[in-house]
């Protein structure tokens, strides 16, 4: 165990590509934490999907031993946080677990949208923030201008900003010194009852559930009987380790320390990010503040393209659920799609990550139905139903009114894109709540219906602001509105997977956009296909996909037979990725792409 004076805990805040991972790699390398031969790029990003998308969706930590210039050795704990609005709660917990942040800004680019969103999280957590100007070796670097920008836009003193090049290693020793000299020591009472925060947890195929903790007070040891204060569950600590970043066992963790434990916990589900861990026999008086249970907000159906893969999908989903407490699932049957699962997610990125993992790691082609939020249906008899799936909409004659979830969205955007952002929010039925300026950036607060945001709002926001906007939201509650179920009919057959709840005033526009999109997404068939959007029995938009006119191989002689047969087989395999609705085959991608709006 290390005394508090020799511990520094920090996270790194940066815009994508500003060098967060490279700096982390350099800190690990320069302190000899990882032997040179074991070093690989981006040590902390575990999953392929994370690396590909340049995002982190699980927190990670590394413990660095640093002999400082004052002759003493310090333990530096870096927590790498997830960086997406879907995981805002997880980020806030990680931030609470450390005392300071390195704010990394690319000296050739300046402060960007994501930097702001994350730095406010750090400020909210009362962090001491050390500005770090990276890429000072680039010809385009303008250290003075960017330092000034940090002061103007973020409002923190950047006179002592550490100037580095993570790529070449320039200035890295200064970063290490700054962590020791400028970040506060953690506070805590070694003699108080154990109080530790559950920062994150994940499933490891060898160890089972692994829990990342930050000890606030008291000491935790291997063999201790611990209790999770939110769930009430009790466990014996089997293993206590720190990550360097490979796992190294440790006897005990005291105040200020960050490490991981395993305790024969069966499912990640049994652990709650933000929960307080204490001793069973001698518990602490109060749990840590700020705990929120994981609450899926976006729901959609996942169906195997090939019905025969349903059992494989069940297995894939249950395995993924082991490692993700915020992901929910229950079996669902669809008239058109057969057996599948209705799944709940924290947001759209979360949905896409899970879907990609099922398709990639379990090799199952999926049809994803229209994402939906939870509507409250107030029936005439006074009862209230939760509607997770538009297909379950009850008979309207029994319905009194519907309520939909609303959010408070906070968007930070440079001046020049403000108009586009306001238009986007208005188009999504938003009500402006606030508009203020911080430097050359506007902060817009909107009250928005969640269902207008879940699908592609974040993508659209990024696209209209060229990535410069940051976005965060909180659920605010439910409000009644004029909501209807819109059905889509293809060749006069309703396709339940495409039905969705929409605001009555926007139904025509959504319906028109949907049928136009579908007309492009469904390949031409040997007959013409009407595509309609309808509310109840009333058609509100219609397109006709004209019949295929020509698809024939011009030359086919003896020497071509083998090749053409292979081509035919390939095309037939392509057909298997489609779903049959009546006589019409709809490609898998059509289900999700039809919902993407262009405006």
């Amino acid at each position: 165990m290390t005394d508090l004076a020799h511990i520094r805990n920090f996270s790194i805040v940066a815009h994508i590509d500003h060098g967060k991972s490279t700096l982390a790699d350099r800190l690990i390398q320069m302190t000899g934490t990882v032997a040179e031969r074991d070093m690989k790029e981006q040590m902390l990003d575990a999953m392929d999907i994370e690396r590909e998308r340049g995002i982190t969706i699980k927190a990670n930590t590394v413990r660095i031993e640093y002999p400082a210039k004052d002759g003493q050795t310090y333990i530096l704990n870096l927590i790498d946080t997830p960086g997406h609005v879907d995981f805002a709660y997880e980020v806030s917990r990680s931030m609470q677990a450390v005392e300071g942040s390195l704010l990394v800004v690319d000296a050739s680019q300046g402060v960007e949208a994501q930097t702001l969103a994350n730095v406010y999280q750090a400020i909210d957590a009362d962090h001491e923030i050390v500005p770090v100007l990276n890429k000072i070796d680039l010809p385009a670097a303008d250290v003075d201008r960017v330092a000034e920008q940090i002061e103007d836009v973020i409002g923190i003193d950047a006179t002592d900003a550490v100037q580095i090049s993570a790529k070449t290693g320039i200035g890295i020793p200064n970063v290490l010194e700054a962590i020791v000299t400028r970040l506060p020591t953690p506070k805590g009472d070694r003699d108080a009852p154990l109080k530790a925060m559950l920062v994150d947890s994940w499933y490891d195929p060898y160890l089972g559930v692994v829990v990342m903790i930050r000890v606030i007070d008291g000491v935790i040891r291997k063999g201790d009987q611990i209790k999770m204060m939110q769930t009430g569950a009790k466990y014996g600590v089997d293993k206590l380790s720190v990550l360097k970043p490979q796992m190294v066992d440790i006897k005990e963790l005291g105040p200020g320390e960050i490490g991981i434990l395993t305790a024969s916990i069966k499912q990640v589900r049994d652990t709650r990010v933000g929960d307080t861990i204490t001793h069973d026999k001698k518990p602490c008086a109060r749990a840590l503040p700020g705990f929120k249970p994981a609450q899926p907000v976006v729901f959609c159906g996942l169906f195997p393209v090939d019905n025969a893969e349903f059992e494989d999908l069940r297995e894939a989903i249950s395995k993924l659920a082991l490692n993700d407490a915020s992901f929910s699932s229950e079996m669902e049957t669809s008239a058109a799609l057969g057996f599948g699962f209705r799944c709940g997610f924290l947001g759209l990125l979360h949905l896409e990550v899970i879907r990609d993992r099922i398709e990639r790691e379990y090799d199952i082609d999926l049809i994803t139905t229209a994402p939906s939020v939870i509507y409250h249906i107030y029936m005439r008899d006074g009862t209230m139903l939760e509607l997770h799936n538009p297909a379950d909409m009850p008979d309207l004659t029994h319905v009194d009114h519907l309520e939909e979830p609303r959010i408070k969205a906070t968007i930070l955007v440079p001046d020049e894109y403000l108009g586009d952002v306001l238009k986007l929010c208005q188009d999504r039925r938003g009500i402006q709540a606030d508009l203020t300026y911080a430097g050359s950036r506007a902060m817009v607060v909107y009250d928005l219906p969640l269902n207008e945001v879940v699908f592609d709002f974040y993508d659209r926001l990024k696209s209209v602001t060229k990535g410069y906007a940051s976005f965060d939201y909180q659920m605010t509650g439910y409000r009644a509105d004029n909501l209807v179920k819109m059905s889509i009919l293809v060749n006069d057959e309703p396709v339940d997977a495409l039905s969705m709840m929409v605001h009555r005033d926007r139904a025509e526009a959504r319906g028109r956009a949907m049928v136009e999109k579908l007309k492009d997404l469904i390949p031409r068939h040997m007959f013409k296909i009407p595509i309609q959007a309808a509310i109840g029995g009333k058609v509100i938009a219609r397109e006709t996909l004209s019949a295929l006119r020509k698809d024939v191989t011009a030359k086919c002689y003896g020497g071509d037979a083998t090749r053409k047969k292979k081509l035919l087989e390939k095309q037939k395999a392509g057909k298997k990725k489609m779903r049959q609705f009546g006589k019409v085959e709809i490609p898998q991608e059509a289900f999700i792409n039809a919902l993407k709006m262009d405006g």
Partner: protein, 372 residues
């Protein structure tokens, strides 16, 4: 064999590679024709060992550009084939020719060698289009070549490609009208296909092949082609082949009716029914590899396999439905699909035969995907 037996001879050399062509063709300065003849002779003798005695219905010299072969080479191959099998009385011996004046000058020699049908790669009757297609002849040369051919051979066919860059429906109508006046009983009319791994395929992928017809114009051109050839007395008997009744290519019908054929020469494919099993063969693609294999191992084949019954059936349907006459109903088992396609008026059937209707022909690939 019920559906005939033919010999396909692949001559892999061309003077220049055409930008749309994905056939096995090579441009070489020097060709030792005697050495190549010896190799073909050796292969014919070897295939004869496999096939056993057969009545030989046809020989087809394809390529490449077989009209670059010397008369003696052609004569030698024909003699070897006639010696190996028993030639039918009406044996059809076709040679593919390019219509340059140099090649037309060899027509007499080919006729003397025993060739009785030529298929001329005219491709277009418009000089600017011939250039765009990378052809080395002019429209006038092509017309003269067809005339010359008609003097030397009892049967003459020529090829045209339509659906070219910047070709309007009216342009094709005019060109096809001229072609039908020139035609001597048989025409092959191909819609331009952009094949991958060709110069056109490459340009197309990079968006550098403007002016190609859209699906509607392609379909209009196809329909017009059917109407005009039918009216002129050369109706389609296969998707891209048109003839007066009785002038159909005997050799090509063997492919479409799933008869047997031996394939010799680089990249040549063959199908032989032996002991109730359908054997597929493929020869080495590269001319040098094939030549070496023949000379050192006395075997140019690189691949030999027995087709599974189902594969043979699929192939028979895929090839046979290209023909106006259709396929035996026994080849198709999916009655509900047949009914569905009949309801769409894309197929028609009776107790013995299933045929694609004129309406279904331009959609044949879609019909096959549904049916198989």
């Amino acid at each position: 064999m019920a559906n005939g037996f033919g010999l396909y001879v692949h001559w892999p050399f061309c003077q220049a590679k055409c930008p749309y062509c994905d056939f096995n063709s090579h441009v070489t300065a020097q060709i030792d024709q005697a050495r190549w003849l010896a190799a073909y002779e050796s292969e014919i003798a070897r295939v004869r060992d496999d096939s056993g005695p057969r009545v030989l219905n046809s020989i087809f010299f394809g390529g490449g550009t077989p009209s670059l072969m010397e008369g003696d080479t052609v004569a030698g191959i024909i003699a070897a084939a006639r010696a190996a099998w028993s030639p039918a009385n009406d044996i059809e011996i076709t040679l593919e020719a390019n219509p340059t004046s140099v090649e037309a000058a060899r027509f007499r020699a080919y006729a003397d060698a025993g060739v009785n049908r030529v298929s001329i790669g005219v491709q277009s009757l418009r000089d600017d289009h011939l250039k765009a297609l990378g052809r080395l002849h002019s429209a006038d040369e092509a017309r003269r070549a067809v005339e010359t051919a008609e003097k030397h051979f009892p049967r003459v066919s020529f090829d045209l490609i339509y659906g070219r860059q910047h070709q309007a429906l009216a342009d094709w109508k005019e060109e096809l009208t001229e072609a039908l006046q020139m035609a001597a009983g048989h025409l092959s009319l191909y819609h331009l296909t952009i094949e991958p791994d060709t110069a056109f395929g490459d340009r197309h992928a990079r968006g550098r092949l403007p002016g190609l017809p859209d699906e509607d114009l392609s379909a209009d051109m196809f329909d017009l082609t059917q109407d005009m050839t039918g009216a002129a007395g050369l109706p389609m008997y296969e998707i891209s082949n048109h003839s007066t009744p009785g002038a159909e290519s005997i050799h090509n019908l063997i492919y479409w009716r799933s008869g047997d054929w031996a394939g010799v020469g680089p990249g040549a494919h063959g199908r032989l029914t032996l002991g109730g099993e359908r054997n597929a063969t493929e020869c080495h693609m590269a001319p040098s590899a094939w030549l070496k294999a023949v000379e050192s191992n006395r075997d140019g084949t690189s691949l030999r396999r027995v087709l599974a019954h189902e594969d043979a059936r699929i192939e028979a349907v895929m090839m046979g439905l290209r023909l106006a006459e259709g396929v035996p109903a026994s080849l198709l088992t999916n009655v509900s699909k047949i009914n569905e396609l009949e309801d769409l008026r894309l197929l028609e059937s009776d107790d013995t035969t299933v045929r694609v209707t004129p309406r279904g022909r331009p959609l044949l690939n879609a019909v096959l995907r549904d049916l198989l």
